[in-house]
Symmetry: D2
Subunit: 275 residues, 4 copies
Amino acid sequence: MDGPDSKGLIYHVTGVLYRHGLNIIHNDEYVSPNGQFFMRTEFESAPDVTFDSAALLSELNTALPNAEGITFRLNPKRKKNIVVLVTKEHHCLGDLLIRYAFDELDADILAVVSNYNHLQPLVSKFGIPFHYVSHEGRSREEHEEAILRTLSIYEPEYLVLAKYMRVLTSDFVNRFPNRIVNIHHSFLPAFVGASPYRQAYERGVKIIGATAHFVNNDLDEGPIIAQNVKEVDHRHTASDMATEGRDVEKIVLSQALKLVFNDRVFIAGNRAIVL
Amino acid sequence: MDGPDSKGLIYHVTGVLYRHGLNIIHNDEYVSPNGQFFMRTEFESAPDVTFDSAALLSELNTALPNAEGITFRLNPKRKKNIVVLVTKEHHCLGDLLIRYAFDELDADILAVVSNYNHLQPLVSKFGIPFHYVSHEGRSREEHEEAILRTLSIYEPEYLVLAKYMRVLTSDFVNRFPNRIVNIHHSFLPAFVGASPYRQAYERGVKIIGATAHFVNNDLDEGPIIAQNVKEVDHRHTASDMATEGRDVEKIVLSQALKLVFNDRVFIAGNRAIVL
Amino acid sequence: MDGPDSKGLIYHVTGVLYRHGLNIIHNDEYVSPNGQFFMRTEFESAPDVTFDSAALLSELNTALPNAEGITFRLNPKRKKNIVVLVTKEHHCLGDLLIRYAFDELDADILAVVSNYNHLQPLVSKFGIPFHYVSHEGRSREEHEEAILRTLSIYEPEYLVLAKYMRVLTSDFVNRFPNRIVNIHHSFLPAFVGASPYRQAYERGVKIIGATAHFVNNDLDEGPIIAQNVKEVDHRHTASDMATEGRDVEKIVLSQALKLVFNDRVFIAGNRAIVL
Amino acid sequence: MDGPDSKGLIYHVTGVLYRHGLNIIHNDEYVSPNGQFFMRTEFESAPDVTFDSAALLSELNTALPNAEGITFRLNPKRKKNIVVLVTKEHHCLGDLLIRYAFDELDADILAVVSNYNHLQPLVSKFGIPFHYVSHEGRSREEHEEAILRTLSIYEPEYLVLAKYMRVLTSDFVNRFPNRIVNIHHSFLPAFVGASPYRQAYERGVKIIGATAHFVNNDLDEGPIIAQNVKEVDHRHTASDMATEGRDVEKIVLSQALKLVFNDRVFIAGNRAIVL
């Protein structure tokens, strides 16, 4: 749930759960400096109780003295349906495929879509549909329409940009609000845009990083879900940094997806709240 | 509060706070795998309300359907009174003194006690009493009695072992249950005992660390509050590791003390729960 | 090269290279506290020069005024031949296979050997021979003999224990001196032996880690090549720690293998020198 | 030494040292992608040898077949003379003073200069001259002239900006080429300019950092000497980030100064080479 903070929110909400005989396994809340309240409550019903989600949601909406602006979401624990978009690089995709193959992803990969066919052999090893949607000879809008046609087959809940190297239009992004996760190969906001490792080398940084974030209208903007870093030194060329960085990228992306797929990420303006 | 978990604990407790007109600023809870419930609730009263802590505590103790084994503690936000014990090394003490001088420690250093007089000049710069209690010519018990006599002047709530290099007896430790914080110069449980950097060098580790923990009867045991690490390589001698390690030690100790002095650390057997 | 330190070693060796018209790309040396000298020199010959490695090695052995105990090794830059041993866990193997499939491993995986057949489907996706050598109904010695028979087909330069969960006998280990790389799922020397994440949970550590090391006669001993760590907190069960730890394990193993396969690791007693 | 790379540089230089009877303790070199050669050689003379630095330097300059553009610098191991500039924040200065008081700084702090008098009491504890040079009622140029007059008393080799919060003019900076070390309270190049923690909070980053760098003409530019980072989460306000960041800042600054004062940092354009 999230909305404007007011006195008694935790009390009233946990009261509804208590009266429904539900057992809270984990509860975490956060109040932002500007007075927004966020709470994630993980609960389970007893084996002998028929859980009525509609009734619960209805009662939650009426239990608060001041519920205006409060939104409740009931998310049963289940795997999310996703489509992965890639270009040519394999490391993030490979990591996702291995996790998926061993049921560690908290998601079902319905398909992989790419503007190149380089990664088709890898994807086919895992028995997942691969769609090669080239951007050659197409305007950006035409290309995105072709991708959207492919996506319409699968109706994924989330799109994962696992090193998809094309900028998406606002029109495209707006169709998937806070449902597109991107991995950017730098410690944002350092080195936005192209060739971040080249930029990092030229700036002579001693640490490189990677950032997983939701995509919004601005390139390399959108709420940051997870970041991680790795030490480098002057001996690392831009290419060496890219090699080292790939290990950071793939782990950060997986960490972020785990949080997203377990409904642990809330959005507060341009910030991600992880509960 | 902590005690056996049961349904409705959050609801009942937040209900008491709500009826007292108290506003929850932050609430965090944890249920251990063996069914112990821990909750830390940070709240404030409205400016126009007279806060009656005795009434609140009393009502909390009667509000729960099943309060058996549940303990409530009401800790007003205030600085803790501490005494720091040291031997010869200055880095942790120096860091604490600088923080204290600029009101960053969440504690008042009532005195520094040492079995050597090496650090007396440093302590005197900051206008804090320094007690030199030598262990020379004294049995361990006699030495500890002398220290206890000094401590009795101050009646500190916490003892901070900021590189105090003598093992304490069970008798001594038992007088301050979960009130003695030690910094150990290794990433426990690696390298317990003496000369951990020498051990680390000989084992050829690539990372060194430091551990802040409560002291219990066993040497280098007791719940771990905070740990941190630093990369080293084969060029680091045992002495170089010690030098690098000092920076880790002083920061980890301060981090741990901040948690302890803000009443954020709960004890579950030999584990520290940080809420 | 390595051996006893003496004055002029760098000068004499670089002189031989200079007279052979070789260009030093990178040179790194280390003198241990007990007077052992280690030097790794990366050089290339000019395109128009015929490189005579035998002559070079011969001259190196005669160039030093005091060459007693000095060993030279000339390693052309090439991929190493390896066999990977696994049990049931897939994460390290999966990471190696993806790297291998995209030519990032600096090695050729000749085969995968396992005492279970769980990972056969994964390995077969990558077209690599998989040998299931069960330990059921065999003594430790009989099992190792069966493995050795399999290895004799491939004559690998290195064995990689990518979560191979059986202890190897001295006899086995001695056949591959400093040629077996293991990944241990703890920050050694903390938590040697079985169930390190269980141990870590019970000790309440705030950081977990993984260690890649050469295998020698003692369990979880042998020179440490690489280590890395990850923060955890009280919410992590032993199982959560294992999950988080797997990401550390697979990255640390790959980092260590990259150093080993590029001939960057020297052995000094029980310490690994990385040049 | 540094200059254009050519074949035989290590050989010729170590030959001169060898003929002078000098023993190399540590040697490290680096060739940049654009063909610049950097070498740092740490050596000692035998107790019975009179070390003639002028003769050595002269011979080094004539020993190379192609010495054009090569610069040699002979730096005896000794403490550097420094002046520290601060504004109001105490944490970096406090850390330097404690290290200095216990002879751990590899430098003598000749004086502390500040545009405020807040830190005078702290500095006076350590018996170091404190100069309050207010910028009130002065133009930037007048203020810098006043500072330069103060500095002229001490003729320091290095200026350390330990949270000196005023931008320096090019004229000022050019008087101390690669001799001014600054600590910037962000992971550069993220969040250049003022209020980096405020910027970091608003961007919702999950990691904050600090950067020690040489100062050149551009604000927050100049070769990066050392960086470090710390994880944060959504609960950290900008003020919390600043508090956490101070620990990173003071450690990074000290690490960078140790490298600089031990003559381990070379400059290659806008990159710092640490040998």
